[in-house]
């Protein structure tokens, strides 16, 4: 009954604070939508300058969706002056490609395209001269995809992680500041001068903010799947379960860290330490490529497990048994934080 009173009070407070509610429920949707449009934008057609190329080469480039501009003569500054992504010079059978490289990933893309086009052209010329060779060269490579399809973009892989991260971030902030305010205004002390147990306070806090975390999770997940059309191969229940556990971890971690903050500003200072690194290890950057010691560190971040599980369910269609290891890890995190919370309240009262 004491816990019900506390939960009721947390709900009353939250419902009165319209801005915080908006932050929790609307802000993740805004950011997700923004990211969706950012990552789904059409890629720009690269501009390539060509010196001394014949018409077959120019046409081949055009077929490969490269904008070609032909030059008679170029200087050192042509690439920059005409804002070309690259410049291909043919002299005495030699080819020289100059890349502007202001954006490394698009420069690499252009380089690959140029290579491909040139070698394909060379191949077809060879076959013209010697038709007997035609049978030796495969016509086309057929590509099959285990996960996703040829239209899969980075956002499809990124979005499951983002969904989990927003749940983590907003629940962390709101629950942490919620308990911090209780500490700074002295209401926590007053609470502890009543016959309530420390465990009851922590549990009630988890339940009270947990209700809002649950609502947020449901809104974010449904919005991503129905409105943004994010791929969801596996079960939505598994997605909700993962996010709910993530919210629980964020909740207990937020409450715990608020112990070490003297003000809202100091609580914000935990974001670069406790929240941002979570993103790095959530699977946005492939973990296999990291140094061994970094991989070890990744395993102490809850978001590592959330990211792994969400990517598994949403993108690869993993089932419950596939993600059970991740779920157990999240439960362990939450349990540790909850116990530490109960201990940290000892500062106020030993019972």
């Amino acid at each position: 009954m004491r816990m019900t009173a506390l939960i009721k009070r947390i709900c009353q407070q939250m419902l009165r604070d319209k801005r915080t509610l908006a932050l929790m429920f609307v802000a993740p949707l805004l950011i997700l939508t923004l990211m969706y449009f950012l990552f789904n934008g059409n890629s720009v057609t690269p501009k390539l300058g060509v010196v001394g190329g014949d018409s077959s080469l120019v046409n081949a480039f055009k077929d490969a969706e490269i904008k070609v501009k032909e030059y008679e003569k170029v200087t050192k500054n042509t690439v920059v002056d005409d804002d070309l992504n690259g410049l291909l010079q043919l002299e005495n059978g030699q080819m020289k490609l100059t890349l502007q490289n202001d954006d490394p990933s698009s420069a690499k893309g252009l380089q690959a395209k140029v290579n491909q086009t040139v070698s394909a052209l060379a191949q077809s010329k060879l076959i013209q001269h010697n038709p007997a060779l035609a049978g030796m060269i495969p016509k086309k490579i057929e590509t099959n995809y285990i996960y996703g399809n040829k239209d899969t973009v980075f956002f499809d892989v990124l979005s499951p992680i983002l969904v989990g991260f927003f749940v983590f971030f907003f629940v962390f902030i709101i629950s942490g500041i919620g308990l911090l305010r209780e500490r700074t205004t002295g209401t926590l002390e007053r609470l502890l001068s009543t016959p309530i147990r420390r465990g009851e306070i922590v549990t009630a806090y988890l339940a009270g903010y947990g209700i809002f975390a649950l609502i947020q999770t449901v809104i974010v997940v449904f919005y991503s799947i129905t409105v943004l059309d994010i791929v969801l191969v596996g079960s939505i229940w598994n997605v909700l379960l993962i996010n709910l556990l993530t919210a629980l971890v964020a909740l207990s971690l937020g409450i715990l860290l608020s112990t070490f903050a003297a003000s809202e500003f100091q609580m914000m200072q935990f974001i670069p330490i406790a929240v941002i690194p979570q993103v790095f290890f959530a699977g946005i950057f492939p973990l296999e490529g990291m140094a061994n010691w970094l991989q070890m560190i990744a395993k102490v971040f809850p978001m590592y497990y959330t990211g792994d599980a969400l990517k598994g369910v949403m993108y690869r269609g993993a089932g419950f048994s596939d993600i059970s290891g991740d779920l157990i890890a999240l439960v362990i995190f939450a349990a540790i934080f909850v116990v530490l919370n109960i201990f940290s309240l000892k500062k106020y009262r030993t019972l």
Binding site: R16, T185, G186, R190
Partner: protein
């Protein structure tokens, strides 16, 4: 069970700084006990120990015959801290209701007690307003009302009348005396205002974590041969050092 509160040889220090040294107090049932001293004297630490929110390094504290800290005894202690400690997003009534349910009052009792304490501190008309819209004095009064909500046997009030206008202060003190006389409540009040000290049954003067002197106000005046209570305090301080 004559002694409601018994504090024996309590010492406490924060780090190396001693806050309380060798404090002994005995407060019988139905006494209005005043703890008087300047800011930083250790009054708040002492009352927090009696509530069980601070642990003593040595010594013991018994309330109603039970050793503190004791969870079930908190039902019998109404505590009002120096800070108002209210939920400003909620209305006065919701604040009272929340604390009433922490003390496990039944619905009927809650209604009765809320009406009673609100009337006592003159907040009946403002109960539906959010605390954020309250004035400083109103917050203080609501805080006092919360301390009284579960009808405890013991009231521990840390500077209850700071920021309250003289008229209301007078009526609040009248209520303290009524609670003590008619309902036999034991009340501990900390204050640094001497005119409030005179109204107490028994006064302990605290400075630098020690009890300089204690007695009824008239005893103390006689002891230090003065009519002015401020002077008692000054003389007691001089005698110590």
């Amino acid at each position: 069970m004559d002694q409601t509160i018994k504090v024996e040889q309590v010492n406490k220090s924060f780090g190396k700084k001693p806050v309380l040294s060798d404090v002994n107090l005995t407060i019988p049932k139905g006494q209005l006990f005043g703890l008087i001293g300047p800011s930083g004297a250790g009054k708040t630490t002492l009352v927090k120990m009696i509530v069980g929110m601070e642990k003593s390094d040595t010594g013991s504290i018994h309330v109603l015959g039970e050793k503190m800290p004791n969870l079930s005894l908190l039902q019998e202690i109404g505590y009002m801290a120096q800070s108002d400690a209210l939920y400003v997003e909620l209305t006065g009534e919701e604040n009272l209701k929340f604390f009433a349910s922490l003390y496990k009052l039944s619905k009927g009792e809650q209604k009765k007690r809320i009406a009673y304490v609100a009337n006592l501190v003159n907040l009946t008309d403002d109960l539906k307003k959010r605390v954020a819209a309250y004035s400083g004095g109103m917050k203080r009064r609501l805080s006092l009302a919360i301390a009284l909500i579960q009808d405890p046997q013991i009231l521990i009030l840390d500077e209850p009348t700071v920021g309250i206008d003289p008229e209301l202060k007078l009526s609040i003190w009248k209520e303290f005396l009524r609670l003590k006389n008619e309902e036999e409540k034991t009340i501990i009040v900390t204050t640094h205002v001497m005119d409030e000290a005179v109204k107490c049954d028994y006064v302990a003067m605290v400075r630098d974590g020690r009890i300089l002197t204690s007695g009824t106000p008239s005893e103390l005046k006689a002891l230090y041969k003065t009519d002015d209570f401020d002077e008692v305090f000054l003389k007691a301080g001089v005698k110590q050092s």
